[in-house]
């Protein structure tokens, strides 16, 4: 895969060294963060399920502790991370993700605006 700063295959069509599209670079970096968050959530929720919410078919019934009327594994393994991801999404959208100009190549953001480098 071509990384930032590399030239595409073969000779360039003009003499200037080609520069990667900044929207492509921003989008790729944001995609990596999104994938990381996904795997953290997967590990947390499914991990909690295995530890506290899964019992093999046919095993003797176990009692299920509750928190706020929800089974404990649902509260800690699903509701809490769900709310945490909402907070993360707020930060990601308004402070991390770039406000790129999709019709051109630059960024329309002013200095100091959230999300500006």
């Amino acid at each position: 895969m071509t990384s930032p700063g590399e030239t595409p295959h073969g000779n360039s069509v003009d003499d200037r060294p080609p520069e990667l599209d900044p929207i492509f670079v921003h989008a790729r970096r944001e995609a990596v963060v999104i994938l990381l968050v996904f795997f953290v959530c997967l590990t947390w929720s499914v991990g909690f399920y295995v530890v506290d919410g899964l019992q093999p078919p046919g095993a003797a019934a176990q009692s299920t502790p509750t928190v706020w009327g929800l089974p404990r594994w649902v509260f800690w393994g699903l509701l809490c991370p769900w709310l945490a991801v909402d907070v993360f999404t707020f930060w990601f959208c308004f402070y991390y993700m770039k406000n790129d100009d999709l019709d051109g190549g630059g960024s329309p953001q002013a200095e100091g605006e959230p999300g500006h480098e």
Partner: protein, 670 residues
């Protein structure tokens, strides 16, 4: 026959635990709400049509001129993703399997940021660069390959047609439930039944269902065809608001009526699952007039010195005049073993009262025998009659000994909702339509909050339904409308039923209109305009677009006359099929400069074929059910998407690099 149990039945109504089995009334207000809703939708279509006159037809009709703002973009994205499955199939799953379904849907916590953020900015940018209007357009231009665009079109039409049929069924079923108590509808049903009698193909259709299918098709096809993408988006906004309002109204009502979540969850922890049984139902004497034993009727047996037993019919049965044995109403044969469930939870058994049956104006007493099961190998996990099966995983599952959500499937579904959502062409099209990246940022957060307000509350509401409305395992796809009716009746607010039932109706409509437009755009833009007649005048394109949209809608309606079963299974099949085919090729096309046409075609075909193969093997192994083969315990989406990604990369690396002008165009500064 001596070993059968037989008891005569008492004739009282079922009064389930503290509440209502037979919620009735309120439907007049419900039908008024529904009518207002349809009028609003039509007004929005009219406004969209006016806007259409002043803009470029193709770009406006199929993509809203790429000018969607935050609310329109967020709600059309969210509403399109929340299909009939979210408000029919999903509540049914919660009701049937218990709390474990919270994990089944749990990855929706990351779905907004994942499905919108992963590809959104890039696909929007690439579509703007090429002027693409559809996903096949994007793929064709990215690889300069009409053949690849054609392949993408074929797959979209194939899968979306299946999905559209399932959505038509869902919408019609909801409408039927909504209108079932309205005298006008009942009269119309009788007239339709007479009109259809003996008519080939339509004669076997349920008259009420057919009537609803007609109304539903007319509404959706008219506003979609007339208003195009803009109408679909505006109605999605309206439908999105209705959905979230419906859920937020139902949530406190349900929690209040069960006496708080702590109390409800403790009762659910004591519940034991019902048993599937077959009944032989008889009367003492042959009947003078036919007797209909409706589906979901309650039968209670036992008396002094005899254990009380409670059954609920899972199919409609009839005792014809001159006969005294009930038969299942089917076209070809009439088996006398009536499928039913037996309630096993003592509290529900004690509270049950049987349905009153009448024939020729006379109350009829019936008795039932439980037909002993033939000795056969146990296939699924039925909970073994244990308490607590609704509290933890894997959950009961009639078709799998591993239960509903074993570890492999839990991981699969966590992946699936995200990767599959990102790979849906209907979602990708919306990502091509937002105005600017600031709109994207705000919309992602809006959808995140929206899904938080929809999905987790739905789990809570339908766990409460287990307490409030026991015994709906016989017809669990109806639990949402039944719960809406029951809650509003219990709170003495029947007028609210219309709004609550409009929520699933809106969910189905918002998905159907989008899929209808996707198929239409694939045929008109990708097949006709780009391959058959690139110089077609706008007038011809316009006319063709209207005709194709109407024809596709009517074709899906005809296919839904004999409704397919397993709504949720069909939706999962088509959703996962589309994403196994599209996710890897589209993602690599957007993010990997070395990716080439050969890799994209091979990746798309391998994803599609792997998915179909796993479903085909599962179909034959299960004796005709939509149950895919789960290789190593994983859902076919996981296997198919992995195969597609690996083949895409391997083929791309072993074939010629893409032309330099394409790499420069899509990955480097102009």
């Amino acid at each position: 026959m001596n070993d059968l149990t037989m008891s005569s039945l008492s004739l009282e109504f079922f009064a389930p635990v503290g509440l209502f089995a037979q919620a009735g009334g309120g439907s007049n207000s419900a039908i008024i709400t529904f009518a207002i809703y349809i009028v609003l939708v039509m007004v929005l279509a009219g406004l969209s049509h006016r806007l259409l006159q002043s803009k470029s037809f193709m770009s406006e009709y199929f993509l809203g001129s790429r000018s969607l703002g935050v609310w329109a973009f967020a709600l059309t994205f969210a509403a399109t993703s929340s299909s009939g499955g979210s408000f029919i199939g999903f509540p049914s799953l919660v009701y049937t399997h218990g709390w474990v379904v919270a994990l089944w849907i749990g990855s929706y916590m990351v779905v907004p940021i994942f499905t919108m953020g992963l590809l959104g900015k890039r696909i929007n940018q690439v579509a703007r660069k090429t002027g693409a209007i559809t996903i096949p357009d994007v793929l064709r231009d990215r690889f300069d390959s009409p053949g690849f665009g054609g392949l993408a079109t074929v797959l979209i039409v194939f899968f979306m047609t299946f999905n559209l049929i399932a959505q038509f069924k869902g919408g019609s079923t909801i409408l039927q439930t909504l209108l079932s108590d309205v005298p006008l509808f009942q009269d119309a049903q009788v007239l339709t039944s007479h009109a259809l009698a003996g008519v080939p193909f339509f004669g076997a259709a349920d008259a009420g269902y057919f009537l609803c299918l007609l109304v539903f098709t007319a509404a959706v096809v008219v506003y979609t065809a007339y208003g195009g993408f803009r109408a679909v988006v505006w109605t999605d906004v309206l439908q999105g608001v209705v959905m979230v309002a419906g859920v937020l109204i139902m949530l406190p009502m349900a929690i209040y009526l069960v006496g708080g979540m702590e109390k409800a969850t403790k009762e659910i922890a004591r519940m034991t699952p019902p048993k599937a049984v077959s009944l032989l139902i008889e009367t003492d004497e042959p009947l003078a007039s036919p007797l209909v034993l409706a589906k979901n009727s309650w039968l209670v047996s036992g008396g002094e010195g005899e254990a009380r037993r409670v059954f609920r019919l899972a199919a409609e049965a009839r005792i014809e005049s001159g006969e005294n044995t009930a038969e299942v109403k089917t076209e070809e044969d009439a088996p006398q073993h009536i499928p039913a469930i037996e309630i096993t939870f003592p509290k529900h058994i004690a509270a049950a009262r049987p349905t009153k049956f009448t024939s020729g104006g006379q109350v009829v007493s019936v008795r039932q025998k439980v037909v002993p099961e033939e000795q056969k190998e146990k296939v699924g996990y039925d909970g073994d009659g244990q308490a607590g099966v609704y509290m933890k995983g894997p959950g009961i599952d009639k078709s799998s000994a591993d239960g509903f959500l074993p570890l492999g499937l839990a991981i699969s579904f966590f992946f699936m909702w995200n990767f599959s959502g990102a790979g849906q062409p209907s979602n990708m099209v919306r990502l091509m339509a937002f105005k600017d990246s600031n709109t994207l940022r705000r919309a992602i957060f809006t959808v995140a909050i929206y899904y938080t307000l929809i999905y987790f509350p739905l789990v809570v509401i339908f766990m409460c339904a287990k307490v409030l409305l026991p015994g709906w395992e016989t017809d669990s796809d109806r639990i949402m409308p039944e719960m809406a009716k029951a809650l509003t009746m219990a709170m003495n607010m029947p007028w609210l039923a219309g709004l609550l039932v409009a929520a699933p109706f809106a969910a189905v409509m918002s998905t159907m209109d989008s899929f209808l437009l996707m198929i239409s755009s694939a045929l008109v833009r990708d097949v006709y305009q780009r391959n058959i007649n690139p110089d077609a005048p706008e007038k011809t394109i316009k006319r063709l677009t209207y005709v194709v949209t109407v024809v596709v809608g009517l074709t899906a309606m005809l296919a839904a006359v004999s409704p397919p079963q397993f709504l949720q299974d069909i939706i999962v099949f088509t959703g996962s099929g589309l994403s196994t085919s599209f996710l890897a090729p589209v993602s690599l096309a957007l993010y990997w400069p070395r990716f080439n046409r050969q890799g994209a075609i091979a990746g798309m075909l391998s994803g599609f074929l792997t998915h179909m193969l796993l479903y085909a093997v599962g179909y034959f192994e299960s004796g005709g059910k939509i149950e895919p083969l789960q290789l190593f315990g994983f859902h076919p989406f996981m296997v198919g998407a992995l195969a597609s990604a690996v083949v895409s990369v391997v083929v791309a690396l072993t074939t010629t690099p893409p032309p330099e002008h394409l790499v420069r165009k899509f990955f480097y500064r102009d």
